[in-house]
């Protein structure tokens, strides 16, 4: 990774931080101004907090990397390493297939169920599951492949 890549990743992290702060603000505003809405503001706030934490950790990491050229070089080698890239690619592939299978099964389930009554909460949990489950599969695959490859 060179200085340009680092600059791009820093910009993306700042954007993520701004989005997450907006999510936290939106959650607080919903809680205070519109409590009658069928939305759980704590869920929005918690997702915002997770994103904000991720973005902050990345920004601190990038700042430290800029100050330490040796660490920067080491990280650059790690990011370009073909085995690391292969592991990420294979883990991403498995996560994608998992997502497709879950989506397909859900579609079948909703199709054969006559008039499924799903509330906002159930839909939210289902969509959250669709995000979290492939991510969990991805992480599990990365750990598994790091041991195997």
């Amino acid at each position: 990774m060179n200085q340009n890549d680092l600059k791009h990743k820093t910009i993306l992290s700042w954007l993520l931080l701004i989005v997450s702060l907006n999510m936290i603000l939106a959650g607080v505003l919903i809680r205070v101004l519109a409590p009658q809405l069928q939305l759980n503001p704590y869920m929005i706030i918690s997702i915002g907090l997770i994103f904000a934490g991720t973005a902050s950790i990345n920004l601190i990491k990038f700042k430290l990397l800029r100050q330490e050229p040796a660490q920067m070089h080491e990280w650059s080698v790690y990011e370009k390493d073909e085995r690391v890239q292969m592991i990420r690619w294979r883990a991403g592939n498995t996560a994608f297939i998992t997502l497709m299978v879950v989506l397909f099964l859900s579609l079948i389930l909703f199709s054969i169920t006559s008039s499924p009554q799903t509330g906002v909460d159930a839909l939210w949990y289902f969509l959250a599951f669709l995000v979290v489950f492939p991510m969990a599969v991805y992480c599990w695959q990365v750990l598994r492949l790091q041991k195997r490859m």
Binding site: V77, Y78, K80, D81, E82, R83, V84, R148, M149
Partner: protein, 70 residues
């Protein structure tokens, strides 16, 4: 695919970390290559062969699982 990476590395007196630095990969990749858990790309294979100054066939031993035709 079998390889003689460790043998050539020891001949040169390099550590895994040194070889990794010269090849531009992580030490973990060298460990995986030496233990034959990972097959390198053709680019990395050529880079390693060039580092040791040997032809690629000497460093990596290709084994075809299919029976060779007469």
């Amino acid at each position: 695919m079998k390889n003689r990476l460790e043998q050539f590395r020891l001949q040169k007196g390099w550590t895994q970390q040194e070889l990794a630095q010269k090849a531009g990969v992580t030490r973990q990749t060298i460990i995986s290559l030496e233990s034959e858990r990972y097959n390198p790309s053709i680019l990395l294979a050529f880079r390693l062969a060039r580092l040791f100054g040997v032809p690629i066939e000497e460093l990596f031993l290709y084994e075809d699982n299919l029976a060779e035709e007469p």
